[in-house]
Symmetry: C2
Subunit: 348 residues, 2 copies
């Protein structure tokens, strides 16, 4: 499939004006006939100084006329801190569940007066990434997935971050932790399939890189749930592609599995279709269980069973960030998000 990006000829009307030099608060002060401090008071809405309404209006009109906007970085340099909460953009492919979580969190932090900035630090890892984030001098850093080590956290704190919060499977020294219980997701899946009488259980692990921090504890959770029982666990790497699913399905009978827990609903839907195309009856021959409770799983026949996972509420997480910013000496807290539950439909 090809795509074409065609340049459209310019109309004279849309020609660019040569950019003027960037107006400063000194320009505004000059035009309004006031001091720079007054400009700063008015435009940054500092309540402290008493300035008459006509003066305020003059300053605002001058700023409007010149197109002057305060400089967030200059303001935070003066204030010694910013209101910027930095969130490294996750390095793993983001599903709809996670997307909703991010939106809710941004909204909740916005309400508390923070500016959320997502930083795409492609190719940077661990403490090297922490250094890049520190250069932006955020007041707090919220790291999804596996983040910086203890040195990275210390570096961020020394660069003025009043709080570092990780949201993932593990705790990092010096940082607040919101621990997602992926182990519990696997445990829940293993226990459900065992209770349904299944004993030879496959676990689909994505072949795509970046998802290991989530897939490994899920697999471990299944194993833990079945330890000491007569059930067996088989790890099944699978790429998110039709061909890979068809290949796995073609050799399915060799494995002799009577159940499979896929990493998430998308992998489960992909594999279930491939198994059906191979004549494997779901759930009679093999039970299929996903995770994430996506709506699309309900559209398949049989309807996909799944593990419903609760992510932390954006509001709770925003409150934790705010509390830590207000009290930078707050001892690191660890919060465990518990919320895996089976949604049994027709495929298990």
């Amino acid at each position: 499939m090809r795509y074409v990006m065609v340049q459209i000829p310019n109309t004279p009307a849309s020609a660019s004006p040569a950019p003027r030099s960037v107006p400063t608060s000194a320009d505004v002060a000059r035009l309004a006939g006031v001091s720079r401090a007054t400009v700063s008071y008015v435009l940054n809405n500092t309540g402290a100084a008493r300035i008459s309404e006509p003066t305020r209006r003059r300053v605002r009109e001058a700023a409007e006329e010149l197109g002057y906007v305060p400089h967030a970085a200059a303001r935070s340099l003066r204030a010694g801190h910013s209101r910027m909460v930095l969130m490294p953009a996750p390095a793993f492919p983001v599903g709809p569940l996670y997307g909703r979580f991010i939106s809710e969190l941004q909204w909740a932090l916005g309400r508390l007066g923070y500016t959320v900035v997502q930083y795409g630090s492609v190719g940077l890892h661990g403490d090297e990434a922490a250094r890049a984030w520190a250069e932006l001098r955020p007041v707090a850093v919220l790291v999804p997935g596996s983040g910086p080590g203890p040195r990275g956290v210390a570096l961020l704190r020394r660069a003025g971050a009043r709080a570092v919060v990780t949201v993932g499977p593990e705790r990092v020294e010096g940082a607040h932790a919101v621990l997602l219980d992926h182990d519990g997701v696997g445990h829940c899946a293993g226990a459900h399939l065992y209770a349904r009488g299944r004993r030879r259980i496959g676990v689909v692990v994505p072949a795509e890189p970046g998802l290991e921090p989530f897939s490994r504890p899920r697999l471990a959770g299944v194993r833990a749930a079945l330890r000491g029982t007569d059930a067996e666990v088989t790890e099944l790497p699978l790429a998110y592609e039709e061909r890979a699913a068809a290949e796995l399905a073609a050799s399915w009978r060799r494995f002799g599995l009577d159940a499979v827990f896929a990493y998430n609903d998308e992998y489960a839907m992909l594999l279930m279709r491939a198994l059906q195309d191979e004549g494997v009856r779901i759930p009679d021959d093999t039970a299929v269980l996903g995770a994430d409770d996506l709506m699309l799983g309900r559209l398949l026949r049989p309807r996909l069973s799944t593990i419903h996972i609760e992510l932390p509420a954006g509001r709770d997480l925003a409150d934790l960030v705010d509390r830590a910013v207000r009290d930078p000496g707050l001892a690191p807290e660890a919060h465990q998000v518990l919320g895996a539950s089976v949604v049994r439909r027709e495929s298990s």
Copy 2:
């Protein structure tokens, strides 16, 4: 479904050290026994000044010991510009296609030495949003969807943004435009269904807010493709919920439609399932056509027909940004992305 966030008691080992004051380049200079200018030369990798390797090492060791990191904002204040490309986080729900586009773009801009920052300006619109972005003094702004008006663009440019690029259905004065041809998507859909002999064609328009900039031109494109023919177009608002789809399907025969083009594959899959549950035969009674070419559409039976849409290549877009940053006087360019094509499977 409830979720629980439980605080785990602290172990003494993880207690937070009281944060020290933020180290400055002056601290580094003092410890290394050099000037602040030397610290700046070494740590910002300015090639201009000749500094001996032992001195460089001393500065780096001192920075390491103190945990000093250069301040990006201070550096950009000195330099007069930053390398930050600001991308407002889109206000609409992001699908997998768009998510991939964003990742590719971040990667391409990262390779060119830019730092991509996604800004979550929840609740801000038009020129008000442009003002908030301008405060961060980005060197370029890349706006997905419908963005600021001409005043907002002018404001951003005056605040030092060397380029403003919009990626959406419309052109904004003063900004470079990458025009996505959503009209063409609808046109392609209408022409396909007409060629398949369908004459009473429904168009699903999402009931969710924020998607109008995309859904309106798609509907208009269908209408344009069928103008002057004997075909009729019916607009069908639909919320992305099973119940809404079931209600629409229950009254389906009333509409007497022999085809439906849904806004995207997700809406198409939702509606197709509801129609099947009502006993509507696909495609015999009603043809169903989606858009986006998601893999999941291939997993349904009948396999979902779709419109494959090409988004601009991240690399091309990154090149446009870079070209505009290097030459701020560059007249605004408009690029049209052409790439809608039918992928006919079994549902149409």
